[in-house]
Subunit: 178 residues, 2 copies
Amino acid sequence: MPLKPWKVLESTYLRPRFRVDKCELPSGYILDANIMEFRTWANILALTKDREAVLVKQYRHGVQDFLLELPGGIIEDGEAPLAGIQRELLEETGYSSPHVVEAGWLFPNPALQTNKVHAFIALDAELTSAQSLDDGEEIEVHLVPLEELKSLAANGKFQHALHVAVLFQALAYLDKIT
Amino acid sequence: MPLKPWKVLESTYLRPRFRVDKCELPSGYILDANIMEFRTWANILALTKDREAVLVKQYRHGVQDFLLELPGGIIEDGEAPLAGIQRELLEETGYSSPHVVEAGWLFPNPALQTNKVHAFIALDAELTSAQSLDDGEEIEVHLVPLEELKSLAANGKFQHALHVAVLFQALAYLDKIT
């Protein structure tokens, strides 16, 4: 018997972007699905001429710890992912690059969220301005050699799962073009 | 100036496991952080003797599509992650393995969620029983050669970001032991 989609019987918004769908499954079973309509996200593996990755470290309140991550964030409504990631890279790190390409995209959580996360890679990234942070942002910039970043990820020291996934796509893309 | 944690001024639960923390940032800025206290998750790269990965395909209502994924799910309260992933593998696929090890763990979304996702790997997985699905589950089992799975992930055809991250850790672990 082929898999079938669920039928939505009723949708209710508890808060903006947070929807509960009462669904009827192919089996007839009824359940409430909590769905978050997040905006598009993007992250970037930005490499300098010396093949150092431009990383950010910031406080993450969900786990109440400071994590090393790829730059990136939320793409604004109406903004193209490429423009958004260039903006985020510049704002968070002060770095920019003439060579930014999309390596692919993924679903951050296809069961609970509607959105995609786009994976970008930048070559020849250079420091071209000061950071320009939002009120809620406090970000340290760290340059980490690409081989060291791979080793951190392989050894569980690069702990943001979505950024590991973006790194995977970016490295696969790098393998194809080099 | 070193990074500092945020100070929680007030915590309110909108629903069970869904908390809003009114936080004061080191800069003095005040914001509301939406935090989801999800249970621990785990996923597994289970390989047969022929190095085929045991994968699952199911409907994901967030993106309203059918996705190929690693087996896994929610670890129950009081359950060890190892016991939980063995249970999930057996229930979802009917496969089990005498050799299941943890390759590492990650934060699925450290900004918004408190939980971890554990990455497991199983060798010599064999079909030992029938599927045992919950009322809300309808799952197809697919055997995919490991090299084909790597290629799918490298080409954006294995689209669940958390599972790509778990695959990354599992493959890194395999590299170390083989």
